[in-house]
């Protein structure tokens, strides 16, 4: 009997370990790795998402780790390379990820005012005298990153509509700030004459410092674009994907989840789908850019 037990116990443990769908079996690691794009200052961005990672870790029973990329386009290049299981994508990176990485859109964060999208805005200083596209001629422009609609493609679209076919034709200089809030500070400080970014970051900064609204004005605004879409890789166990989706969508009904949402300045998450990226595809089509052949890699040294 003892001999039988000695053989059976290890055998049971062996079967138990290999029969449960585990991340270890899938990826060779014991945690979920979630990627973030540097839409805000990277330190602020990590601080903002940390409570969510802790919440998911507690509920999933799997450690959730965050990794932030230094550039927007990197999330496409490094997603598989770094073994990410999911990521919060921006407007254009989301569309690219769905197309190139075949990830599955899961949920989108909803802001306190009930929005789950953001508009691209072109901002100028009120005292700059810039009031129309033609006034931008010979000026310096601060873009966010080539892999964003609000921070790059929208101003491109705006200029194209005004009859300008290339950036060099309009600006004396242009450069990429790398984050949305940096684009605001570049214009505020007079380091750039105009800049583009998403309105949610601008509104957030104005909420914290009302004087920003006295100094800046919005020159143009894009249609709403999906913001911060959370996507998961499709080869994650379906059970895990389902659980994560349910957790995110149900956060507002849960006391602890509500607390995390408040910390993040959100009211909840809403379901996401491939169709959310239709406005992105539309704007790209208008400029004559294809999703598959778009060079989204940014050289920060634009000046």
């Amino acid at each position: 009997m003892r001999v039988l037990l000695r053989c059976l116990i290890p055998l049971c443990i062996f079967f138990f370990l290999f029969s449960i769908p585990s991340l270890r079996g899938e990826t060779g690691k014991r945690y979920l790795l979630i990627g973030l794009i540097p839409e805000r200052n990277i330190f602020r961005q990590i601080d903002r998402y940390r409570p969510l990672a802790d919440y998911l870790s507690g509920r999933l029973g799997v450690k959730v780790r965050l990794t932030i990329l230094s550039r927007y386009g990197d999330i496409i290049d490094r997603f598989s390379q770094r073994g990410m299981d999911g990521a919060f994508f921006g407007d254009l990176t989301g569309a690219l990820a769905v197309e190139l990485l075949k990830v599955e859109p899961v949920a989108r964060p909803v802001s306190l005012d009930g929005r789950s999208s953001a508009r691209g805005v072109i901002i100028v200083r009120r005292d700059s005298g810039i009031r129309k596209p033609g006034d931008l001629k010979g000026k310096v422009f601060a873009f966010v990153d080539r892999a964003t609609v609000s921070g790059y493609l929208f101003p491109l679209y705006y200029l194209r509509k005004a009859g300008f076919n290339s950036l060099k034709e309009v600006f004396s200089e242009y450069y990429f700030t790398g984050s949305h809030d940096s684009a605001v500070f570049a214009v505020l400080d007079g380091r750039a004459d105009a800049g583009s970014l998403k309105d949610t970051v601008l509104n957030d900064l104005i909420r914290k410092d009302k004087t920003i609204a006295d100094e800046l004005m919005v020159l143009a605004e894009s249609p709403p674009m999906p913001e911060g879409t959370f996507c998961l890789r499709t080869d994650l166990p379906p059970e895990m994907r389902r659980k994560i989706r349910e957790l995110l969508l149900g956060m507002k009904k849960d006391h602890e989840g509500m607390k995390v949402l408040q910390e993040m300045g959100l009211s909840g998450f809403t379901p996401a789908s491939r169709n959310d990226f239709a406005p992105v595809i539309r704007i790209m089509k208008e400029i004559g850019i294809g999703l598959k052949d778009y060079d989204y890699r940014t050289t920060l040294k634009g000046r």
């Binding site: 330190f43 310096v140 505020l188 400080d189 007079g190 380091r191 410092d209 004087t211 100094e215």
Partner: protein, 320 residues
């Protein structure tokens, strides 16, 4: 004897004729322009001999060389002490030396031009622009810069425990006064406590630093402050006062500098001068709206003050 008299008459005739032609030649010659040889004589006056104005001048010369104009100009450069009498004397020297064009750097000399009686065209550069600070009628052209003072205060406020801000300015430099007033107004809007600190002589900088208990210091774009503030930099460090400035050239003394790009100022100025020399074009007044943000991390470290990392990421340059 008769022959000798005839010779005398002949000699007198030729002398008279020669004198007549000489007089004719002198009278018919056009007035000599104030130039050395065929070069145009351009007088340059710095409001103080400080790195920022030297940079503007360097880029101005560089652009003139690129445009092939430099060789046609004879420069006379004056770098007086930042003092109204010295500015006036420097300008008058250039008038005496028949400068046909005068260029002024900084608010001091540019303001002084208005009190001189002369029709020599003057171009100014490197002044803080507050709408129409200088009456343009006095000048043939000029390059000013705008600077969002709120940005500097906003960054200053982000540093730990900054509440009371001293604003240094030099009253004879009107643009410095205008800037100080604007800073005062913005401080109040941002919930900071401004302390206006006018100085008339360099020793007053030290006195005021000792007299007022300040958390932060704003140095306006003043030639006087640029020249004398560096002498009190160690006192500021000792008192752990965070210094911000709207002027270039103090990057190694101030914790934060946001200033207009001297290269662009120099380039615009050269454009104005070339336009004047080629077509006699006057009345162009440019405003440069391109700034550089420099953080001096070494100073904050030395003073034991933490600068939020996110501020460092915004800077065009971080001094370590």
């Amino acid at each position: 004897m008769a022959i000798s008299n005839q010779n005398k008459v002949k000699r007198s005739f030729w002398c008279l004729a020669f004198s007549f032609f000489l007089l004719l030649a002198v009278v018919s010659t056009p007035p000599v322009p104030a130039s050395a040889g065929d070069k145009v004589r351009v007088g340059v006056v710095f409001s103080a001999d400080v790195p920022y104005y030297r940079d503007i001048h360097r880029y101005f010369i560089k652009t003139l060389k690129e445009k092939g104009i430099y060789g046609k100009i004879d420069f006379l450069v004056q770098k007086p002490h930042p003092d109204p009498i010295a500015w006036s004397n420097a300008l008058r020297k250039l008038y005496v030396y028949d400068a046909s064009i005068i260029i002024t750097y900084g608010p001091g000399t540019s303001e002084t031009v208005k009190y001189e009686i002369s029709d020599v065209p003057v171009f100014y550069a490197g002044l803080y622009s507050n709408d129409t600070v200088l009456e343009n009628a006095h000048f043939a052209g000029g390059v000013e810069y705008t600077l969002p003072v709120t940005s500097l205060l906003r960054y200053l406020r982000k540093m730990d425990s900054v509440k009371r801000i001293g604003i240094f300015f030099f009253p004879p430099e009107r643009t410095s006064v205008e800037e100080a007033r604007k800073v005062q107004e913005r401080c109040i809007a941002l919930g900071l406590e401004p302390v206006m600190l006018p100085v008339h002589k360099s020793s007053e900088i030290g006195e005021k630093l000792r007299l007022f208990d300040l958390d932060g210091l704003y140095i306006t774009g003043s030639a006087f402050m640029l020249r004398y503030f560096p002498e009190y930099a160690s006192e500021v460090k000792r008192q752990k006062i965070r210094v911000v400035t709207s002027s270039g050239g103090l990057e190694d003394k101030a914790m934060l500098s946001l200033y207009s790009d001297p290269f662009l100022i120099g380039r615009e100025l050269s454009g104005l001068l070339v336009g004047y020399l080629k077509n006699g074009r006057k009345g162009d007044f440019k405003i440069v709206r391109r700034n550089r943000l420099v953080f001096n991390y070494a100073i904050s470290k030395e003073m034991g003050i933490d600068i939020p990392l996110e501020l460092l990421t915004e800077a065009d340059e971080v001094i370590r």
